[in-house]
Amino acid sequence: MQSSFQLAFLIPLLPLIGFLINGLGRNWLSKQWSGLIGAGTILGSFLISLFIFQAVKAGQGEVISYFDFIRMEGLRIPFAFQIDALSSLFLLIITGIGFLIHVYSISYMHEESSTSFARYFSYLNLFVFSMLLLVLGSNYVVLFIGWEGVGLCSYLLIGFWIKNQQYTKAANKAFIMNRIGDLAFLLAIFWLIIKTGSASFQEVFDFIQANQGTSKFSVTDITIVTLLLFIGATGKSAQLPLYTWLPDAMAGPTPVSALIHAATMVTAGIYMIARSNIIYSLAPLTLSIISWIGLATAFLAATIALRQYDIKKVLAYSTVSQLGFMFLALGSGAYIAAVFHVLTHAFFKALLFLGSGSVIHAMGGEQDIRKMGGLSGKLKITYATFLIGCLAIAGLPPLSGFFSKDAILLSAFLHQPLQYGIALFTAFLTAFYMFRLLFLTFHGSFRGTPEQQAHLHESPALMTIPLVILAILSVAGGWIGIPAVLLQDADWLGNFLAPVLGSTTHEVSHATEWLLMSLSVGGVLLTIGFAWFLFRHYRATESRGILRFFENKWYVDQLYDRVIVQPIFYLGRILKEWVEPRIIDALVNGVGKTVQLAGRQIRFLQSGQIGSYVLLMVMAMVVVLLVQFFIRK
């Protein structure tokens, strides 16, 4: 083992310790200490991650086995960590952005009581712990532990303000939607274990590569496993049809949204599929399904985002849409582009969410952009950083979003031109709704109450410093993956990830690439101009036609309610009012009555008379002896 890897176990352990201290000591710890422990443990993990990242950059990764988690006949599942390019990159994203969010939270949550403050940080730490476990696991089972932990923590944090019924419902929704995906994931794990006899990535991949197409692992097996894993990913990464929880997950405190949308949770599905790229590359059908679902999600969410008025809702749908882009990349076989977009998206989406938190903070809890406007004057840092975030997500060079989105669009173009067309249009939509948000929030005149206007102020340094750092990253974060057409040998990320994800070589002329790039940049610029023209001054308009359809989110929630929720309630009513009292209860009570009756009869044997006891015993003996000697003989 490389000596630097010996510290790897500390990366998840530190947040776990933080969770335990904050969780158990929540009644005694002061806010300073809770915040310090919460953020400090993540900082520690981040430093070790940096250290390990350096080591991975220098050499190859490896698997570190700690102990046997499950050991039985024919199956051994070690508790082991896999450290390689992919996981070390994710470690940096999770701990780095996680740390900034922790720091930001210290200020954002300062109004909470010290008990719930500590509770908040303990959940946050547990969240990061689970995500780190997910990324570090060297087999599907450890990954699944982290996977479930992330689901649990999202539930705890979305419903953090437990007194609000609406928030609790949102938490339930997130949890249940995730569970649906988890079930598929679990089935995939079982399928793999049954077929390959292992859950470790390396062994599973080797087995499948060696036996693909044979009876040991047929093409059907590959398709089923990849599809099940993908269904798992649609739950966690909010894709059609399981995406509806993510917009509702806004109920949690804003930094939590940033954590869920940027550093943890929703990237888990992308990570899992990228990790399993060897299997996916053998399943063209699944890849095609993934690309279409990703694209459909991207488009649908983008249209919904066009007509939302809650600042966080717009960002939430934008996340769903961007995740769709990532899945489009995965489906096109461009795993590196997907991971690249995870990285840049983490920067600018964390920035945008924390920026929106700063806005909400300044507005005293107001989230409706119709009541904002003209904030750029008062919130200078927030405005500047938010603008950078918008430019980055819109994909203007040389900001980070440009490079990753360009990589995805290119892969889509090569894969399937029709998909490219839709994706490009969706990219324009992205620019449109983001700048609509920006203009409505920061430009024009203030539309809130006079009290709110008097309250407006820039957030404290603990909140703005993370914004500035994230803004810098949003600008420069893309420069690690500059395509060859712009700069020779600058695709550092591609080379770094190639051992795990395979290298991608494009058979495309530079002229085409230039054309595609100018098309997207030109379109985005035009769209921004259009948005400026429309939303510079806010005018309340009633949505009509298709826009109304978008505003109501395609009525998907209503559809699910009708098609799934109501029938289940109906079935539940039948079970409760008819099946349970008439069948189950009758059965149970019947058994109970029989037992009572039998017991009452038997009790008479216990008369207390020695004579009758002896008589009964002798009778029993006589029967046994007679049967043995004369019948069984």
Binding site: V595, Q596, A598, G599, R600, I602, R603, L605, Q606, G608, I610, Y613, V614, L616, M617, A620, M621, V624, L625, Q628, F629, R632
Partner: protein
Amino acid sequence: MNALLVSAILGVLLMLSSVFIKNRSYIHALALAGLATLFALNLAELNGWLLFEIDVKGMLRFDRYALVMNAIMLASLFFYLLLSGNAMEKVGPHYADYLALLFFICAGLFMVTGYASLLILFLGIEVISIPLYILTGSDKRNLKSNEAALKYFLLGSFSTGLLLLGIAFFYGARGNFTATVSVDPTVVGSSLQLAGLLLLLFAMSFKVSVAPFHFWTPDVYDGAPTVFTSFMATIVKVALFAAFVRLFEDTFSLQFSIWQPWVAGFVVITLLIGNLTAVFQQSVKRMLAYSSIAQAGFMLLAVYAINGDSKEGLLLYAASYSLATIGIFAVLTYMQDYAFEGFNGLAKKQPLVAASLAIFFLSLAGIPLTGGFLAKLFMIKAALAYQLWLAIVAVIMAVISVFYYFRVIQAMYFRDNTQSISPEFPKAFSILLLITALIVVLLGILPEAILGLLYF
């Protein structure tokens, strides 16, 4: 061998001690020290270290299984003395004598776990039984105690007669008392041996309270002073089961197909009677008497199956069942009466005691994470090697047992105390009880702690 002789000596010593030592806590300490010595000697023998070199002419044989069983019994007895010392004082003035009798019984217990000749088996059973008759009647001014002792004595003598007659038939068939397999063709099929086998089966069934020879159990257990019921129902019973298993494994294994169906029948009747009758009891003490019959039905599966699983299972059963039952009876000795209502609201007043009791009952019911669960699991697994239906019956009966065990838990946690009097427990007692409960849980998590002793 070590422990057998020393425990007899300790019995004499304790009997004399009442003359010299007036302070009861010293006597109690002496008994505990004696037990610790026995335990250490037994462990020493497990590691091959013998205190005495005596030629027993092959009449005793202490193998690992017997020694591990002895260790379990001694450990249980240690907890029993710690938890019940106080209650024993209340029975009557002859504190040292009770303890002396316990040590004599101990000698008998070691004889029945380590016998290699049927004579020793007989001797051991009598050495156990006679002091037990006395202990049952030790509450001399209590009519119920007297009645129980008399009943126990009369029915016990009856079964002793059966035992002797069985041994006589056995001798008639084989010409010796050696408890080994005889391959002599004239012996294997002989009717004399068959009759001896069946009579021994009846007699042993009586001693371990297996139906239909269980009738004495509820009356005696109910009438005897609670503290001695606890001893009879646990340590004595598991020792006799070890003897039972040894008898049919070592001596009658060739007649397996003859006796196995009968044992299966006894298992079913015992489980049915024990569980169904326990459902009805209004007194916790009597309920425990029936539950001990039901548990005997489970332990009888060890005789039924006679394989590796069942023998390991019996060890686990011995440990978890003894500790849990001892703990429950120890609490019972502090109760005003033995009605279920007495436990109402105990969880609020005595959270430690209630939690420990809950663990004991969960273990008896066989709920996972407790020793009782694994014990039942082993037994059912052993039975599965032969008959599926028997395992199904056993599981159903375990489910029924949940009903009456959980009644106590329900009373403790979900009912309010309507009576103003509630039992008081000394702090040390509560903590000891909790430790006992933790051991029961530990058995369910790390069964290797005991089973490992068998192999290393």
